[in-house]
């Protein structure tokens, strides 16, 4: 029976090698084991898995069966093979597939390359250097230099490779720990060759799950690629676990990556609308439903789910903030932008009802809420939000050292500005001009996301330009941007002459650098590494979506 299994599994190995979607028998594996003996053994097994079978098949099976199956059938056959439980049928199928493989790879000797190391540090170094070279990492659990689970986590997070754990310890807690840390499988020592032969399944599974949502086209492509046999590079066995190369030697097809979803403000507005509708109907707000409702191409359930989570977190935080904070200062500029955005998003014309008091409240709160560092972190840490980066360039390092002495006290209450004359005929423009003229504005700005009708001439938006720019050109700005006083802004006078200041504003709003002009809370964020994760417009859009806030608008 064992022998039979051996045969079958050997065959399966080769089927999958040749016919499997993502692995043309050349999988690169990185093996890590502190124990040299185990390492060597593992490597030997891995080499055996991929190498021996081919010869075996080509000699006996090919002669045995003169079958020839069309290439297009390979995938189906392989898939069938994987699901067949009946032994003889499996044998037949495997033979068929083998034949196919042999047909194509008759002259190609696939030698597997396995890289191994005993040191975790070295392994990490290898992985970091050649990110796309490896498809699977096998590591052991108990080691001296680094905890195996930690290593597992690191590899999983950094390189997003499937990791298999091997250990002499078979305690349930250890296994559970491994799974919880993200191991794809937990094998016991001594590792059997049959198990090693089936390791590729983890890679394949990961590939499929990664690409299941949107990239079926990728899969198709890859299948077509796979059907053309390629000579895989030789795998060197250098030690520990196997590195399995999936796909062709070049790193291009190594991993099917999900295209990033950019949550533009329109998309977000749509999202929020859907959520509201679902809530209004009394249905449960589920990503699946939202997705159906939104009916947007390329939006996966996972994208929506994570976005929903973020949204809910933000709601919650805002709610807390609202309860906690009082009207400590205002961030009129922020509010103005919000208002502008609000109006812009709603497509309404001027909203000429200034709500001064509420402005004060909402402004600070919203600002705080929006640009609270923790909230920011929500966006930052979520990989989805990383996709929400603007199309702008990221803030240059020069901003990080800025000394933002601006405090909310510089923001005068909107009342003071109600009658301000400095906001002349073009209320929104002049005062924003310093903002626009800021070094931030000089950054590359992306095309406006929100559309062009963002700057309205309502008094409210007038209020939006607070003392932040007390003078025409913001000489009084307390922020020490680039150490600048007036001169900085004068340099950028030309910017003020922009014909379409609207677009500038839009751009600026889109530019997360603009957040730099907010108060010290923002500056906190600036001092943190990456501010660019949160679009102002994005934030505004979210704000816009918040029911509590809408009271004030």
């Amino acid at each position: 029976m064992a022998k039979n299994n051996n045969e079958v599994t050997e065959i399966s190995m080769h089927d999958d090698g040749g016919g499997a979607m993502f692995k043309p028998a050349g999988m690169r594996v990185l093996a890590i084991d502190a124990n040299v003996v185990c390492l060597k053994y593992l490597v030997a097994i891995l080499q055996k898995c991929q190498y021996r079978g081919l010869l075996f098949l080509s000699s006996s099976f090919y002669k045995l069966i003169g079958l020839y199956v069309e290439i297009q059938d390979v995938r189906e056959v392989v898939v069938c093979f994987q699901f067949r439980l009946c032994l003889n049928l499996r044998l037949v199928l495997s033979v068929i597939v083998n034949t196919i493989k042999v047909e194509f790879q008759r002259t190609v000797l696939m030698q597997s390359e396995v890289t191994s190391t005993t040191s975790a540090a070295e392994a990490l170094k290898i992985l970091r250097e050649n990110k796309n070279d490896y498809h699977l990492v096998i590591t052991d659990v108990k080691r001296l230099d680094m905890d195996g689970f930690k290593l597992l986590e690191i590899i999983g997070l950094e390189m997003d490779l499937p990791v298999i754990m091997v250990s002499a310890e078979d305690s349930r807690s250890s296994i559970m720990k491994g799974i919880r840390h993200g191991a794809r499988d937990y094998l016991l020592k001594p590792v059997r060759i049959q198990e090693m032969q089936n390791i590729w399944q983890h890679v394949l599974r990961k590939r499929l799950s990664d690409s299941s949502d949107k990239c079926s086209s990728f899969i198709e492509e890859m299948i077509e690629q796979e059907s053309v046999p390629s000579i895989e590079p030789e795998e060197e066995v250098t030690g520990a676990k196997e590195r399995e190369i999936i796909g062709s030697p070049n790193g291009d097809t190594c991993s099917v990556k999900k295209p990033r979803v950019t949550w533009s403000s329109e998309l977000h507005v749509k999202f929020v609308d859907c959520v509201k509708k679902l809530e209004a109907r009394g249905e449960r707000v589920q990503p699946k439903r939202i997705r159906e409702m939104m009916n947007v191409e390329g939006l996966s359930r996972e994208n929506i789910a994570s976005h929903l989570q973020k949204y809910r977190n933000m709601l919650k935080k805002n709610k807390d903030k609202m309860n906690q904070k009082d009207n400590a200062g205002t961030d009129l500029n922020m509010y103005g932008r919000i208002l502008a955005t609000e109006n812009g998003l709603r497509g309404t014309s001027e909203d000429s009802t200034p709500k001064s008091q509420s402005l004060a409240t909402s402004f600070t709160d919203s600002k705080r809420i929006f640009f609270h560092p923790s909230k920011h972190n929500i966006f930052r840490e979520n990989s989805l939000s990383r996709n929400i980066t603007t199309r702008n360039s990221l803030p240059e390092p020069e901003f990080q050292g800025l000394n933002f002495s601006a405090s909310s006290s510089t923001w005068k209450s909107p009342n003071e500005y109600m009658g301000s004359q400095s906001f002349g005929q073009v209320p929104g423009l002049c005062n924003l001009s310093p903002l626009l003229c800021s070094p931030a504005a000089s950054f590359k700005l992306s095309s406006p996301v929100l559309g062009h009708n963002l700057i309205d001439t309502s008094p409210a938006s007038v209020l939006s330009t607070p003392n932040y720019f007390p003078g025409q050109y913001g000489e009084g700005i307390s922020m020490n941007l680039c150490g600048g006083g007036t001169s900085n802004f004068r340099e950028h006078d030309s910017h003020c002459a922009y014909g379409d200041q609207k677009s500038l504003l839009v751009d600026l709003m889109n530019n997360e650098d603009a957040k730099l002009f907010m108060d010290e809370e923002i500056s906190d964020m600036v001092n943190q590494a990456m501010i660019s994760e949160v679009l102002p417009s994005e934030a505004l859009a979210v704000y816009h979506a918040k029911p509590e806030m809408q009271v004030y608008l």
Partner: protein, 147 residues
């Protein structure tokens, strides 16, 4: 003459192996190992031996239970990889004793481990010597013969 030597060596080896299997010193893993690497087998096992020996030394010091546990684990891993059945069993017992902080049990297990390990080492050494002789003899007889 030489040929007969080869056959005899082979017979001896088989007998030795049979004994070892019977005693439970080695298990089928060893066979697998042999299948895997015929040429490099000696090196493999010798490495294992050195490795295990170091571990034994360390364990004796009882310096650090945790470290010992790790070493023990390694030792267990390597011994099970090569199919050293009895050694591995002793390791298991050792680990159990150390988890229970049973010092006496640990000491006893350590003794037993050393004993088993030495026995295994000797036998394997014997085995590989025979193997080497056999290869030499076979090579001399049939220079072109491939295994």
């Amino acid at each position: 003459m030489l040929g007969w030597g080869v056959d005899r060596l082979r017979a001896d080896m088989s007998r030795l192996l049979a004994i070892l299997f019977h005693q439970g010193v080695l298990d089928e893993q060893f066979l697998q190992l042999q299948q895997l690497q015929d040429e490099s087998s000696p090196n493999f096992v010798s490495e294992c031996k050195t490795d295990g020996y170091c571990d034994c030394r360390l364990d004796r010091e009882f310096s650090d239970y945790k470290k010992m546990g790790i070493h023990l684990n390694q030792f267990m891993g390597s011994s099970s990889s090569i199919g050293a059945n009895r050694v591995r069993n002793v390791c298991v017992a050792f680990r159990a004793a150390s988890e229970q902080n049973n010092r006496a049990g640990c000491l006893r297990a350590l003794e037993l481990l050393e004993h088993e390990y030495c026995y295994l080492k000797n036998k394997l050494h014997e085995l590989f010597q025979m193997e080497q002789q056999r290869v030499l003899a076979a090579g001399a007889r049939y220079p072109l013969q491939q295994h």
